[in-house]
């Protein structure tokens, strides 16, 4: 069942599938960014752009393809984030323009749409860099044009061709951009675009893209109404690879195989797997049959088998435990709030005034840091950091929630300072953004706060205090690369100071000690070690012990930061 043209409803499915597939893979795309720290955000940016499109088209029940595309391109424009996001929005805009008022998209219109999308994307830049997402969309559209001349009546083939040509050109991007080659990756924006197109193809063939399970903040509709034992239709989830396909196996056979599977189960997904094999997944009550069918095509390997009913039973038990834990956490939070309220009251502020004089908003990631900030009197914490920058709206909302006339904002990341400044302009309160570049600087600033001093004095003192804090960070490389003539291998531990990779090695402990040596200056008197969620407390204490033997004249403190990705954040002042 491959339709000859695409109508509004199918187009909507395709766009949603593209966004979902990109969302599932956004971390992989992020990791392709040309800097060996797991901080890149091309995938996140593109995924947020696509999500903004999906949000706009999801409620529509529209049969006209051009109408859907128009809304989608507006959504992408509104939600565009980062370079690749803006380019993606231009591609969709071009596609939409070429459709005009067409009810459906046939093969010719699809090719024209791709072409116009590529042209529009190119038009908005003076010096197009080859080896980027731009090259990928251009080559795809050219290949699509050539393919259509030879096969004018094969939309299904065209979609396959598009994905294939995208894969080919993506592999060539390192040859066009030296930075990619040096880092040993393909272009991240191009990879993101390819995921979107793969999603389109899958939806066109009627496949469903399942949302990644580990995403609690955006629950898919299925997760909102979880299956219960009564509603569970198919009990077993089966996935496997088919390798060594028989030589006589054609695309038709694969399609037939897919149809047979849909008869015996649901959530069927048959995709191209490694080594030109097939990757298969479905839910069924007759697992034996689906394996038998597969044996007709080739050899079955990597069989995975799950009983969903058993999982539901486990989940129900887990939820009950979680509900109890949440109830307890809520009670504790209430108590903490009451205590914080009491502390604010105790501050020498006019008690009659409904508002406090000063309040704080901090951007922070990691449970430990959030707790440290709360203990220091920061009333609003915005979740965010390197890989997930909060939006202006998030920060503005937090500012407005603070019960105070003057609000200090601690962005705690150089990428967030701008958003915080804009939020400050939008707020009606007197807002002062302190340019803290990391969490340790933020903590330094809050400690310097004096409730009696006026706004300007506080601003100056806190900024000074934060600038006195020097920090080093320890994380790991996500892939092989060369940075400033240092050869770095995937999994290596790297120590960063002032945005530069200072030390590279295999042991977190040794690197931490080396990094401290390069960060500490003679005038310093305090070293604070914030350890992340992946580090054990004993290890952190051992590290502190070693550092205090090297610097006997300094105080060494250990705090739990709970930050992801970074093993240690080391602050000296």
């Amino acid at each position: 069942m491959t339709p000859k043209s695409i109508d509004g409803l199918l187009l909507k499915e395709m766009l949603i599938a593209g966004a979902t597939l990109l969302d599932i893979n956004h971390e992989e795309v992020d990791s392709l960014n040309v800097f060996p720290v797991p901080d890149g955000d091309t995938g996140t940016n593109m995924s947020l752009t696509m999500k903004s499109t999906v949000k706009d088209i999801e409620p529509l029940d529209e049969h006209s393809a051009s109408a859907i595309m128009k809304v989608a391109s507006k959504g992408a424009l509104k939600g565009a984030r980062g370079n690749s996001g803006v380019i993606l929005s231009q591609i969709l805009r071009g596609f939409s323009k070429s459709l005009d008022n067409a009810e459906t998209i046939d093969q010719a219109a699809f090719v024209a749409g791709l072409k116009k999308g590529s042209e529009t994307a190119y038009k908005a830049v003076m010096k197009p860099k080859e080896g980027t997402i731009l090259t990928v969309i251009r080559v795809i559209s050219e290949d699509a044009e050539r393919y259509s001349i030879r096969h004018p009546d094969n939309l299904s083939g065209l979609l396959d061709k598009i994905v294939k040509s995208g894969e080919v050109i993506l592999e060539k991007t390192p040859d066009m951009l030296p930075a990619l080659k040096q880092a040993g990756v393909v272009d991240s924006g191009g990879q993101g675009l390819l995921y979107v197109l793969k999603g389109w193809r899958a939806a066109y063939h009627g496949e469903k893209i399942e949302k990644a399970p580990a995403e609690p903040e955006v629950p898919s509709p299925e997760e909102e109404t979880p299956a219960t034992l009564e509603t569970l239709k198919f009990r077993y989830e089966v996935s496997y690879l088919i390798k060594y396909l028989g030589e006589s196996v054609t695309e038709d056979d694969v399609n037939k195989f897919r149809t047979r599977l849909t008869r015996i189960g649901e959530k069927v997904s048959v995709e191209n797997g490694p080594d030109s094999g097939l990757s298969v997944r479905l839910c069924t009550n007759v697992p034996g049959k689906c394996i038998q069918y597969a044996c007709d095509l080739g050899e079955v390997v990597d069989l995975k088998f799950d009983n969903l009913a058993e999982k539901i039973r486990e989940r129900i038990a887990g939820e009950q435990a979680k509900a109890q834990a949440e109830e307890q956490a809520r009670r504790e939070a209430e108590e903490a709030e009451r205590a914080a309220g009491a502390a604010a009251q105790a501050a020498p502020v006019e008690n009659a005034a409904p508002l406090n004089e000063y309040g704080f908003v901090a951007v922070s990631i990691g449970s430990g840091f959030s707790q440290i900030f709360t203990e220091l009197g920061v009333s609003q914490i915005v979740e965010g950091g390197q890989t997930m920058n909060p939006s202006i709206e998030d920060i503005l909302a937090a500012i407005n929630r603070v019960d105070a006339r003057n609000v200090f904002v601690l962005p705690n990341n150089s990428n967030i300072v701008l958003a915080a400044t804009q939020a400050a302009e939008l707020s009606e309160k007197t807002v002062c953004v302190l340019p803290t570049k990391n969490t340790a600087m933020g903590i330094g600033a809050v400690i310097a706060f004096e409730p009696d001093a006026d706004l300007e004095t506080n601003r100056r003192k806190m900024t000074e205090a934060s600038e006195n804090v020097k920090t080093g960070q320890i994380t790991y490389a996500v892939r092989d690369t060369v940075f400033e003539d240092k050869e770095i291998h995937e999994g290596d531990i790297i120590g960063i100071h002032n945005g530069c990779i200072e030390v590279v090695g295999r042991s977190v402990h040794d690197i931490a000690v080396d990094l401290v040596r390069s960060v500490v200056e003679e005038s310093d008197s305090l070293i604070t070690i914030y350890y992340g969620q992946d580090v054990k407390e004993e290890d952190a204490t051992a590290l502190a012990g070693e550092i205090s033997t090297i610097y006997p004249e300094m105080d060494v403190e250990v705090q739990y930061g709970g930050q992801p990705l970074y093993y240690y954040l080391i602050a000296t002042e």
Partner: protein
Amino acid sequence: MECKINNELGQITINEEVLLKVAGYATLECYGIVAMSSKRAKDGLVEWLGGENLTKGVDLRVTNEGIDIDLYIIVEYGVSIVEVCKIIRSQVCYKIENMTGAKVRRVNVSVEGIRI
């Protein structure tokens, strides 16, 4: 005005022209920019510049706390202008700081025109 950087080996002096070109080129590489606009745009004459003229839409001042850069740009209709400006700021800042070692304090972007 040139930018001076001292290190333990001696002094590095970077001519303003160099900084202007780096900033101009970095801007033109950004997605969404179709041209630079002359600083004299307020005279009522918007010049459309490109190629070798790229230092013209750029203005900068060297201060003790770092360089302040003003950029006068023309964008393509239909792009998210806010997002493009954000990208320009980070790109220009990155390029200047990495190529010259000078510190950038501010990047002011002024959208002077739009190509429809």
